[in-house]
């Protein structure tokens, strides 16, 4: 098999800026890598090799003074297919949007492109982001590159698998309940869900608007910081984007964190967590302790309510957001002779089982007679989950947990049991409910399968999370490439 283009995004951008490497020759390497691995992995839903090559040539032709300002000069980028792009179709993994071409491009993509990044493909996902395995894509599942019989995680499974196998050094994902962090963990790469409001959601196809965030995936912590830097910041097109200034995430990245106090919540290390996962994360904490990190056992008593809270709030918001798919303005339309049947047939035929299940659940918990019992109750418990974190951050700087309760599971092993699938989000949903940033970084391998550890920080503490992740990264030996 041909050699993998072995660049980090940072290294490639530096080399393209200085003229040591042409963006075109690098792009040719990545496109060949896609041809070699995509038939086995199925990470992508759309690609445009000609466009990617001509964009790369465009970067090479740029005058030096222009090129030298581009943080991502010539760096290939994979974009999750629920983030709209003018030049590629956007399906969100759903038949409902098959053939849809967005008239505009998402802010996060626009910002990356303005810094020289080149979108070469759109990646597979669970339909509308609803799932933890990428098995709920209408276009077939993505495989985990470390073991093709296993899931890559989800919903950003295509983005994570693409980066893990070397199709591109960078990818964008979205995270509503763990959809960046869990696939990053399952694929042995780094993924960050930013603070709610850090990255504009303009152009992200809405699933649960109070939880959704776009974020970066890459093979190294430094690359995650580099992409985060570019896509962060307020956007007039997203009223929930925050006005907090964006730090220089790379400036202090490699400076050791002296005197760091890390909280280890016992609720994330108990029942339901695979002992192999627990052991790898605990070992890493022991090693960090020898580096001067203070590990403090803490309690976060409302963690046990997180899955119930999430699976009321997210479907409720989804049922409202997905009402726009009616067969009138875009996407799939089922044949019908009257308007009411057109709506009902279109939605039933265009959306997959899991999406329909969440719409029905969400509609039920918002309906008259149930609203207070379910939806309002969940929003109140959400407050208590937020308070658990606020209180923890009185005594510790960051909180550490496993990124997922188990190792990548075998394809098909959970698809018939929705409740079992929902429980695989146990480690990640709390950061979304609390609006906090969280990073998954590989902590080790067990029997060839990657295991991730999650760092959760106070709002806007991405710089600290990246420094902690960098420290872990230096201690982990990992195989270079899975395939």
């Amino acid at each position: 098999m041909m050699a993998v283009p072995d660049y980090s995004a940072k290294g490639l951008a530096d080399a393209v800026r200085s003229g040591q490497v042409s963006a075109e020759s690098a792009m040719i390497g990545y496109l060949e890598r896609i041809r070699a691995t995509e038939p086995e992995v199925h990470a992508l839903l759309a690609q445009d090799q000609d466009l990617a090559l001509s964009r790369a040539q465009g970067v090479d032709r740029m005058p030096l003074d222009q090129k030298s300002h581009l943080a991502l000069a010539g760096v290939p980028l994979v974009v999750k297919d629920n983030i709209v792009t003018k030049e590629f179709p956007t399906t969100a993994g759903s038949r409902m949007l098959e053939g849809f071409h967005s008239p505009y491009t998402a802010t996060a993509v626009e910002r990356a492109e303005a810094q020289g990044a080149i979108v070469l493909a759109k990646s597979n996902l669970d339909e509308f982001g609803m799932g933890s395995s990428t098995e709920h894509s209408a276009f077939g599942p993505t495989k985990n590159p470390w073991d093709l019989t296993r899931v890559p995680g989800g919903s950003s499974g295509g983005s994570a698998a693409a980066v893990a196998v070397g199709m591109a050094p960078l990818a964008l994902g979205s995270d509503t309940g763990g959809s960046i962090r869990q696939p990053a963990a399952f694929c042995g790469i780094v993924g960050l869900k930013p603070t709610y409001g850090r990255v504009s959601r303009y152009g992200l196809i809405a699933y649960a608007s109070s939880l959704d965030q776009i974020g970066p995936l890459a093979r190294t912590v430094e690359d995650v910081g580099l992409l985060l830097q570019v896509i962060s910041g307020q956007d007039v097109r997203d009223a929930t984007s925050g006005e907090n200034p964006v730090s220089d995430y790379l400036a202090e990245l490699k400076r050791p964190l002296e005197g760091l106090r890390v909280g280890m919540p016992k609720e994330y290390f108990g029942q339901g967590i695979d002992p192999k996962v627990r052991s790898v994360v605990e070992k890493m904490l022991t090693r960090l302790a020898t580096e001067g990190v203070t590990v403090i056992e803490i309690e976060m008593p409302h963690t046990r309510y997180a899955i119930a809270t999430y699976y009321l709030i997210a479907p409720a918001e989804a049922s409202s957001n997905l009402s726009r798919y009616d067969g009138i303005r875009y996407g799939f339309r089922a044949p019908a002779t009257d308007l009411d049947s057109l709506y009902r047939n279109t939605r039933a035929q265009g959306m997959g089982e899991e999406v329909q299940r969440r719409i029905l659940l969400g509609t039920h918990v918002l309906s008259a007679g149930y609203y207070d019992q379910y939806y309002v109750k969940a929003q109140k418990v959400r407050t208590l989950i937020r308070r658990d974190f606020d209180e923890a951050f009185q005594t510790v700087d960051l909180v550490v947990t496993p990124s997922a309760p188990d190792l990548p599971f075998v394809l098909g092993s959970r698809s018939d049991d929705p409740m079992q699938m929902y429980l695989s989000d146990i480690c990640t949903v709390t950061a979304n409910l609390a609006g906090l940033p969280a990073l998954s970084v590989p902590a080790g391998f067990d029997d060839g399968l990657p295991i991730g550890m999650q760092w959760i920080g106070p709002a806007w503490s991405e710089d600290l999370l990246l420094r902690a992740g960098y420290m872990v990264e230096q201690m982990v030996e990992r195989p270079r490439w899975p395939l």
């Binding site: 849809f100 071409h101 008239p103 505009y104 603070t195 709610y196 409001g197 608007s209 109070s210 307020q234 009223a239 929930t240 984007s241 925050g242 006005e243 046990r304 309510y305 899955i307 119930a308 699976y311 049922s319 009402s323 009616d326 009138i328 303005r329 875009y330 996407g331 019908a336 009257d338 308007l339 049947s341 057109l342 709506y343 009902r344 047939n345 939605r347 959306m351 329909q356 299940r357 719409i359 029905l360 659940l361 509609t363 039920h364 309906s367 109750k377 969940a378 929003q379 109140k380 418990v381 959400r382 407050t383 208590l384 929705p418 409740m419 929902y422 979304n432 609006g435 709002a459 806007w460």
Partner: protein, 100 residues
């Protein structure tokens, strides 16, 4: 708890989803299991707790309310399953003679 098929039919009607009887039966079971699981929340005392309605952790900003360019109508119609005369085309909603 299994939801009644009448309730599932009612909810699918609200959600504009046409379900067949097999689907209704399956979903009655599946949603029942999820609703059993979320019962755990009823044990939490939230009598003195305010709800969190939104995700933001800090100030957003309101932009000034100035008119800007909108999507061109032809572009907006480009993804429509059916369009005619610059408008989205839908099945007839009035019976013959009703639109006089």
């Amino acid at each position: 708890m299994r939801l009644s098929t009448d309730l599932v039919a009612y909810v699918s009607d609200l959600a504009h989803l046409r379900l067949n009887m097999t689907d209704v039966e399956r979903i009655a079971n599946e949603l029942g299991r999820v609703l059993d699981y979320v019962e755990v929340l009823q044990a939490v005392d939230t009598s003195a707790v305010d709800a969190t309605w939104q995700g933001s952790r800090g100030p957003g900003g309101m932009r000034s309310d100035e008119a800007g360019p909108s999507l061109d109508p032809l572009v907006a119609l480009a993804n429509a399953p059916a369009a005619q005369n610059g408008m989205f085309r839908i099945p007839r909603i009035l019976a013959e003679g009703e639109d006089q």
